[in-house]
Symmetry: C2
Subunit: 317 residues, 2 copies
């Protein structure tokens, strides 16, 4: 990683998403100023960062010097104004309620450096609405990560109607500099890209289970030991491109009728009624076999990092 | 791997899928008898197996002894009858046309050992129909792999109406013994599990591109650098289970309304018209940047094997 062009950032809101952003920026060498309205959240986030760095040190992934360097880049501030002072980028990860978000953006727009970019971790709200009426609407943009962003690199970048093209370009460049994968959306749709595609998969997965075609473990196995092994490497278009000797054009032409028939046959929106949720809950418990959820998450994060390391060592080229 | 209980198998049909099955069985220590109506296909398959083993030897993944052992287990036969003689399991990978499949199954049922299980690689046909009227319908079953099965382990197992429960159980046990991941389906649905879930993802991915929300590379990046990194480890239920502190029940209860709204908003079946297919083709070409398709496939297979090795070294437990 080269030195990021924005050397000082502020992380505002330090819950589960915000605390992971702290790691992203501190890892990349940024001075990382943090703030949360709730002082306890800041304490929790700092303790979590500390534990996480310590685990990586123990696992031999980080030197003591690197741990110390990252730690030294993180500073907590009691006031929002202090926290954003001198920051060229602000990553906001506050509550997902439009009134709160609008109020927070009004504050951020007032107290931050006029040249700072104000990115929001929102997974659902529209920046056009959040920044509506703000003098600094031009510098407000959605930068929605996957949880946790210090492990999974994709960030959905969605400008509002007033966001300047230069801000879009700068934020994408900066996110790349700090090791993330920005994905630009051209306009707002509910759920953005990631949650729409996730919903599409869950929708069919649930139908396959509730209709009795297969059980939860079988449906999950088809992904984790089948399709998911490719999707860690290539998206649906990249995969389609390798599925026919003539590439994606030939694949979608040859299987056009089959796909249309299949897509028309996919199941309806599930009801998420108590009975089916309990059915899936029980089957998932059996599948997981009593392994502690925190342990599963640690395993997931460790494995995602290993997969990313494999891809870095042996990239497609 | 323990010694498979079925020591002699026949691979009938040695195209792209069949040749990969040869590797699965020879790797597991089975005597592997192969046949294709088209003698040239057999030659091609043997040459491909040879090249593939040789590449693994050069890469240090296989010893010369192991290569020799696997090679020695594979024998080609000119007649179907000879090929299936003594085989306890037949993996059929013939053309995907119902009349041809029925005729081939009638032949297989007549010439094979009455105790042999007859598995079909079909991705779309219904075993109830293929085996209709055959004296040995009880031992006929769909065993649909992902391409290529010697790299990606999932096999969809789908009995026909006449298939005996004991056959289902035996074939699942055998597939595990040879290193695959059998997934049992309770009844036929078009596209089985895998192609339905793949179609669900492609359907939304195409809509996101053709409606202009994002481009092909962006949509693919959301999968390969986002969701896919998890899906290589856990299916949709496993992921949902880690997405809330209270697990899958809490996740699907808390986000019930959001998911219902989002699922109702997902895009329609695309038209796959020439214009949109060309749009996706052009964008995919740009994304891939001129890398040879055969090279991409080699990379994909190499990386899938590496990811599987990671999961084997550090399993969730």
């Amino acid at each position: 990683m080269t030195e990021p062009k924005i050397s000082t950032v502020a992380v505002v809101g330090t819950g589960v998403i915000g605390r992971s952003w702290i790691q992203v920026f501190a890892r990349a060498g940024c001075q990382t100023r943090i703030h949360d309205r709730d002082a306890a959240q800041v304490e929790n986030a700092l303790a979590w960062v500390e534990r996480d760095l310590e685990e990586d040190r123990k696992a031999g992934l980080l030197s003591s010097e690197e741990v110390a360097a990252r730690r030294s880049r993180v500073t907590a501030y009691q006031s929002l104004k202090e926290a954003v002072a001198g920051a060229g980028y602000v990553q906001e990860s506050g509550p997902e309620r439009i009134e709160l978000k609008k109020a927070l953006y009004a504050d951020l727009d007032r107290v931050s450096d006029p040249a700072a970019i104000l990115g929001s971790s929102t997974s659902a709200l529209n920046m056009t609405e959040i920044a509506s009426g703000l003098p600094g609407a031009r510098r407000c943009i959605v930068t929605h990560p996957v949880n946790p962003p210090h492990v999974v690199p994709v960030v959905e970048v969605l400008p509002g109607e007033k966001t300047e093209p230069e801000v879009v370009q700068k934020v994408c460049a900066f996110l790349k500099e700090v090791g993330q994968t920005p994905v630009l959306m051209n306009f707002y749709v509910p759920g953005f890209l990631l949650n729409r595609m996730q919903a599409a998969l869950i929708k069919e997965a649930m139908n396959l289970v509730t209709s009795g075609v297969a059980d939860v473990d079988g449906v999950d196995a088809v992904i984790r030991d089948g399709l998911g092994l490719r999707w860690a490497l290539m998206g649906p278009f990249g995969v389609a491109n390798t599925n026919a000797d003539g590439g994606v054009r030939q694949y979608f032409t040859r299987y056009r009728d089959d796909y249309i028939e299949l897509m028309n046959d996919l199941g309806p929106t599930p009801e998420f009624d108590a009975g089916s949720v309990e059915q899936m809950g029980k089957a998932t418990d059996e599948m997981v076999g009593g392994i502690d959820r925190a342990e599963i998450r640690r395993w997931r994060d460790r494995m995602v990092r290993k997969i990313r390391a494999l891809k870095k060592e042996d990239p497609l080229q």
